[in-house]
Symmetry: C2
Subunit: 327 residues, 2 copies
């Protein structure tokens, strides 16, 4: 977690540490615009008027590149360090390469080969840790003390990460303001970015989170009014939403700005992944299917509404995808 705090302007009071407009100006020329899709057959299956905003064709295959680039462009460090077994690792590796920095990603030793290779293919160092002996965060701390020039980057609890993700919200809302935007929730980096974009643009739309019921720490946190943690990493198919708890910066944005969280059962995730395959020709990872799955899980909440579902990423092992498609 970075230590940046909100600056204070002596004339006008606190300055919002998340500069949505500046971030959009900086980041958008270097990312792929999100891919907007619609399908009458999907609408019929969901009972709503759904637009898909897909980040599966973003650099490194997920929205995480927006956040990673936002951090890398702002950082003065020559070396970026993060723990990630998934999309943030590959995204930070590519962002570091594009900005001329070194990058080290701490990954569990049992990570999928294809994910390790993706990080390495962007020139980053992969540090494999036996998580039965050392936690990923302990290993990051160890490396931070060894690597004097390294800055530790959080995948979600960081103002620059949230600002980077807000660029997706700006794109989505510029294309037309729906009744609500549904967005996957893990650590809260993406959802808080969408809320910030919505508030910046003064768009009248609800932002609804979609979280696996098996890893519902964010839903519990919003109900309790304090951050609740999962005891251990959940076994949900949605590996991008296994985060144990929301970040503090994310929680403070989401508790005020989120319209609610749908707790999504696993079978809805699988059905949503299949519907996106069938009706949109879209290959998505389970976490990427969460928003559509939320509409499937609570149809009454979205009935007849104009709903934009954010598909966060598309990186999924072929054997798992094949199994989910045909089950």
């Amino acid at each position: 977690v970075s230590d940046r705090e909100a600056p204070w302007d002596h004339e006008t009071g606190p300055v919002d540490p998340i500069d949505v407009e500046g971030s959009a100006r900086l980041i958008r020329p270097q990312v792929r615009p999100t891919t907007l899709l619609a399908s009458e057959a999907l609408d019929a299956a969901l009972g709503s008027e759904v637009r898909i905003a897909s980040e599966t064709f973003q650099h490194t295959g997920s929205f995480k590149y927006r956040a990673a680039l936002s951090v890398a462009l702002a950082s003065n460090a020559s070396h970026l360090l993060a723990a990630s077994s998934g999309n943030f690792g590959a995204a930070l590796a590519l962002a570091a390469k594009r900005t001329g920095k070194r990058c080290t990603i701490v990954m569990p030793a049992q990570s999928a080969r294809v994910k390790i290779d993706a990080v390495r293919s962007h020139g980053a160092t992969v540090d494999l840790v036996d998580t039965s002996k050392t936690s990923r965060l302990d290993r990051v701390e160890q490396l931070r003390s060894e690597l004097a020039d390294a800055q530790v980057i959080s995948a979600y609890d960081d103002f620059l990460v949230i600002a980077g993700n807000a660029t997706l919200g700006v794109e989505v809302l510029e294309a037309g303001v729906p009744d609500c935007v549904v967005v996957p929730v893990g650590g809260g980096g993406l959802s808080s970015g969408i809320v910030k974009a919505r508030d910046h643009l003064r768009a009248v739309t609800e932002v609804i989170g979609a979280e696996p019921a098996l890893a519902n720490d964010a839903a519990r946190s919003l109900r309790a009014g304090v951050i609740c943690r999962d005891e251990h990493e959940s076994a949900t198919l949605c590996d991008g939403a296994r985060t144990l708890a929301l970040g503090q910066r994310n929680f403070s944005i989401l508790r005020r700005g989120l319209g609610g969280i749908v707790e999504v059962p696993e079978d809805a995730v699988i059905r949503a992944l299949q519907l996106l395959y069938l009706h949109c020709n879209l290959k998505v990872e389970p976490t990427g299917a969460l928003a559509v799955a939320a509409v499937l899980a609570e149809p009454a909440r979205f009935a007849q509404k104009r709903v934009t579902c954010i598909v966060s990423g598309g990186n999924v092992d072929p054997a798992l995808y094949a199994r989910l498609l045909t089950q």
Copy 2:
């Protein structure tokens, strides 16, 4: 096959029956722009600098909607009739619906349920024919005589079809002229459209066909200088390229305009489908993988070149796709 012949202007001689510019003006506002993608990992796997132009997100999931809409907009008939077991049927059904016409699609009785349902979902009548007793074309002739107002539409051997497909060529070349464009070849409707667009724009680029080696009638035809026919429908995975022979209009354009045809083995098609999944997050049907498979099959021909591969469509049965992904 429609009966339209090239008109003649008494001042200037023959008028090109394929109006690339007029077609683009008419069609492009009503179709989805093609999706352009690139991936460094794909380039590394192919040894070329590859850009993908994907029609998997086109209405009805393939480029065929461009052709179908071109025909439907120009036709005075109130009823469109075609034989198709695949993408052209769904495309013509939707184009007819959008232009307020009736539509009947003749399909083999053993067609995949999902394909029959796709045609019906656009409001067309599906006429199932037992192909062991009656050929599809015989059934079309029978229906033509019964339905006085029906116009029979060819999926490829038609100037309006070629003009509709040329709109894809215009989009691809407007985005930058590569050293060559590789395009799947079945009946020759798409490839002749790309050649016409190239010639109209006076773009200096080679157009190369990609045809399954198991259904190489087009390659044989170009070698022989006359249209050669396959004896029976091939068992290639590429169901969009099982056509028995090129259309006459297509052949006359391709023999002058095509730079060559790569005869693609089936295993290259499977590998290309897997590479597009892995490196581009793109779900493609086997026929849609043909162009990338051609680069895999003859790497020396494309080495170090800037190559645009056209992905023609994405509609594939989930069980087949799952099998191809994991084999």
